[in-house]
């Protein structure tokens, strides 16, 4: 088993040097948090990971979960982890004091989340889902709902879930049919089926609280008729005892990866006795749920980067220890011992690719978290709008790049190990199985790409792109002050112009009413856009590293850290960013007969 799964030094570099957490902590809202507390929180995340998560990564996967006699059984270490998280107050760390949290900035919860996800991504889902669903109740629920549920959820005693998907309605939520019938006793009677409900039921938790989307009888069709309900597995009777609430687990799905986390199929109201309580106002359920989904999307991106991180360090360790072959220049010297594979150029390329994806992806997630923190704390309405605009624009990218490129990254990690990477003797095959879900969870890459192009760019009339251009300019202006970074400044500026060109072309198609054609290759546009955004993040990191080298005269390991940052930026600009050229060629093609107009009979 590899020893390292994430670089704490990199997380601290991002928090302190690149994204200046001090600036965020200056807000009165975060007055109780200082830098020392942030460091202790990261240490505590490492402690929890080293004790409860990382040692059981493979064991929990092999044990899987079981469903027998209507009961879902998970690995006992998961229960211990949830208890430890509840006791440590980590489940609701970012919640306000009023709601039982510690008002931590999202940047800090992103950093601690990255540590724990890298240690054992599937197990972290249990507490992440509880936090997300408790946050919905805290944000939109009545006083009674908050009092009854959030405390038990944040302590880890009750599990929370996000119950959206139905057998006939996955990506298309407007087609859900679960129903809610009002009663004169304050609750509704719920009926319906939900599938793919992660952590949706298991032995060892006292209760499961589903945040369930359903339609109140007579509600409008489509997304405007969807409401949000709290539907517990067990409800309280008049004496405060927990009794059955007619929520039955029908089965669990057997998944390729993340075997720690059961994906449950449940049926509510089979006996017409399932009580649910409305959260907020009727028919506003989807907009409430989107609060959780946006947080969850960043969370899934973080998970992708974190799994790729664990795979990177496992393959790096192997590459430093595995002797195999000789360098091309030493092929004839058969009497010489074999060289470690890290000395082969192609292995170095695979390792640099992984590092560029992991640290580039994490950087973008920290950027988004910073926008979220500043949006919440700034008093200036113009600034607030700006941060929101940037966060909205970049959230689908921060979800998709670490997922899609993370999959490629883990694949390259496995490749470094050759045949051993494909065996269960090393963790890479598990990383590969685990990360595959990240491009599907919380809106597939196709959905995220439509969101980016149609809603976030065309929907704002291109204003969001101007905000991004201004942010990029801040970085290129500073990078231009260093001679050896100028070449990369020019490259990024050119790519930004390409982005504007492509966006104008697609926007023009949409204006002409060819919306189907404009959005046909949204997924390719997402990749094109992502590469430029990650290029911006790499130039940002390299500029900070350069500045630290010039002003701080670092030595030893610290100097190597900064040099590695600059080198990885150079790798990304030389190997990855040029891939936009092929994507641009396709995106600039105005006539499509290949996907939009092709008859399905030709795809056989």
């Amino acid at each position: 088993m590899a020893k390292k799964y994430i670089s704490i030094e990199n997380l601290k570099f991002l928090l302190n040097e690149v994204f200046n957490i001090e600036e965020v902590l200056e807000s009165p809202y975060y007055a109780e948090t200082d830098n020392e507390a942030v460091n202790m929180i990261l240490d505590a995340a490492v402690d929890i990971s080293d004790r409860h998560l990382f040692p059981f990564y493979t064991e929990i996967d092999r044990a899987d979960h079981t469903f027998e006699d209507g009961k879902v059984t998970i690995h006992p270490e998961i229960i211990k982890y949830i208890k430890a998280m509840g006791e440590a107050g980590f489940i609701g760390g970012s919640f306000s004091f009023e709601h039982g949290g510690q008002q931590l900035p999202q940047m800090v919860t992103a950093a601690s989340g990255a540590i724990m996800s890298a240690a054992n991504n599937g197990v972290v889902m249990f507490t992440g889902l509880t936090a997300g669903s408790a946050h919905l109740i805290a944000s939109f629920g009545s006083k009674e709902l908050k009092e009854k549920y959030t405390g038990k959820m944040l302590s880890g005693e009750w599990q929370g879930t996000m119950a959206l998907t139905e057998p006939q309605a996955g990506s298309s939520l407007s087609d859900i049919v679960s129903s809610a019938t009002p009663t004169d006793q304050g609750h509704y009677k719920l009926k319906g089926q939900k599938i793919f409900i992660s952590s949706g039921d298991y032995e060892g938790t006292e209760n499961v609280v589903h945040l369930m989307l359903a339609r109140i009888d007579g509600a409008p069709l489509g997304t405007k008729g969807i409401s949000l309900f709290v539907v517990p597995k067990l409800r309280e009777d008049e004496n405060g005892n927990l009794i059955d609430n007619d929520v039955t687990t029908a089965g669990v799905y057997h998944k390729m990866g993340q075997k720690s986390t059961p994906a449950v199929h449940y049926i509510a109201g089979d006996n017409d006795n399932c009580h649910g309580w409305l959260v907020g106002e009727p028919n506003k359920g989807l907009s409430y749920m989107f609060q959780m989904m946006n947080e969850a999307r960043l969370g899934v991106g973080l998970m992708g980067a974190a799994i790729a991180s664990a795979a990177y360090y496992a393959s790096l360790e192997y590459a430093n220890e595995r002797p195999q072959g000789r360098k091309i220049s030493e092929q004839s010297a058969k009497d010489k011992p074999q060289t470690f594979i890290i000395n082969h150029a192609d292995v170095k390329r695979m390792l640099l690719f992984q590092k560029s994806v992991v640290e580039g992806g994490l950087s973008l997630i920290f950027e988004c978290s910073r926008y979220a923190d500043l949006e919440m704390t700034t008093e200036d309405e113009t600034a607030k709008k700006r941060y929101k605009g940037l966060l909205d624009l970049l959230t689908p990218v921060a979800k998709t790049f670490p997922a899609e490129y993370g999959i490629k990254s883990v694949s390259e990690g496995m490749q470094c190990l050759g045949g051993f990477g494909y065996t269960t003797d090393f963790p890479l095959e598990q990383h590969y199985r685990d990360i595959r879900i990240t491009s599907i969870y919380e809106g597939t890459t196709g959905i995220q790409s439509l969101d980016l192009l149609a809603r976030k760019i065309m929907g704002t009339g291109g204003k969001s792109l101007m905000l991004l251009a201004e942010e990029v300019k801040k970085v290129t202006d500073e990078a231009s002050t260093y001679d050896d970074l100028k070449k990369y400044v020019t490259a990024l500026q050119e790519k930004l112009q390409d982005l504007q060109k492509v966006t104008q072309q697609l926007g023009g198609m949409a204006m002409q009413g060819k919306m189907e054609l404009a959005l046909a290759d949204a997924t390719l546009y997402m990749e094109f856009f992502s590469l430029i955004v990650i290029g911006w993040q790499w130039l940002k990191q390299a500029t900070v590293a350069k500045k630290a080298m010039v002003t701080g005269n670092p030595e030893g390991e610290k100097l190597k850290f900064y040099e590695s940052k600059i080198h990885t930026m150079r790798y990304f600009f030389s190997y990855e960013l040029p891939k936009t050229l092929g994507l641009m060629t396709r995106l600039m093609d105005k006539d499509d007969t290949l996907t939009v107009e092709v008859e399905k009979e030709l795809i056989v």
């Binding site: 020893k3 704490i8 030094e9 109780e32 948090t33 200082d34 020392e36 507390a37 460091n39 202790m40 929180i41 240490d43 505590a44 402690d47 929890i48 004790r51 430890a84 006791e87 440590a88 107050g89 980590f90 760390g93 510690q102 931590l104 011992p337 670092p554 030595e555 030893g556 390991e557 610290k558 850290f561």
Partner: protein, 245 residues
């Protein structure tokens, strides 16, 4: 119950150690520092005893300002207050004198620390403090319960375990499984900076040792594969190269 827990500020055991100044000083650049692992056990048990019997836990460290984040962590874990003796912990004798000086004025029931620090691994301080205060010191204590002013302990001895009792006050050098390390909770972390941390000057500067130079252990060597039938070569390598037989 009034407990003093002495903590060391040591490099994380996963840190890459290097030396500077002609190999006479540890290079602290880029190192991550933590509470000494054995001290962490002592602290965890002290907090448990306080929760069980009431009283206070004071964390003490001999070190310069750079050790304060480590002291804050002890406060986050559950110490009520802390003392930093503002000096470089040059050797066991110097550190023991500082602890004894504080202890003389405060009448602690228990003075707990790790069986040894994880940087120099001397394992001498608890014995010296006991001697300086004229009270018993025991190490390595692996189990500790307090019952009506009597400490009931277990410690590892050659070939087995020893169970013993002693009246308070005592100095104890602790190790696992006396308690499980405590992960500080959020409330503890956020409250740590509000707890009192007193900085005092050292009592004197007596040290008995001066390091001449440090060196790292020899790096790991490559694996040697020996034919299964060639036991003579295996024996020769184990005897002459590895020097283990």
């Amino acid at each position: 119950m009034k407990i003093l827990v002495c903590i060391t500020h040591v490099p994380d055991t996963t840190s890459k150690i290097t030396f500077t100044n002609d190999n006479t000083e540890l290079d602290k650049g880029g190192l991550q520092f933590v509470i000494g692992p054995y001290d962490d056990y002592a602290l965890a048990r002290a907090v448990e005893i306080k929760e069980q019997l009431g009283g206070t836990v004071t964390a003490l460290n001999v070190g310069q300002q750079e050790t304060e984040p480590t002291i804050r962590k002890a406060l986050a874990i559950g110490a009520d207050d802390a003392i930093r003796i503002d000096a470089e912990p040059t050797d066991a004798y110097f550190v023991a004198q500082q602890i004894a000086e504080v202890a003389k004025a405060e009448n602690y029931d228990l003075i707990m620390m790790g069986r040894e620090s994880s940087d120099y691994n001397g394992g001498q301080v608890h014995g010296m403090v006991g001697e300086m205060l004229g009270i018993p010191s025991l190490s390595p204590v692996m189990k500790l319960d307090i019952d009506k002013g009597v400490a009931k302990m277990a410690r590892e001895i050659e070939g087995g375990k020893e169970y013993l009792e002693a009246s308070l006050p005592l100095v104890l050098g602790c190790q696992e499984p006396i308690a499980e390390w405590k992960i500080p909770n959020m409330r503890g972390i956020m409250g740590a900076r509000k707890k009192p941390l007193k900085v005092i000057t050292p009592t004197n500067n007596d040290t008995l040792t001066t390091p001449e130079s440090y060196e790292l252990p020899a790096p790991r060597t490559d694996v040697k594969l020996i034919d299964a039938d060639n036991t003579a070569e295996l024996v020769s390598l184990l005897k002459n190269e590895a020097k283990v037989i």
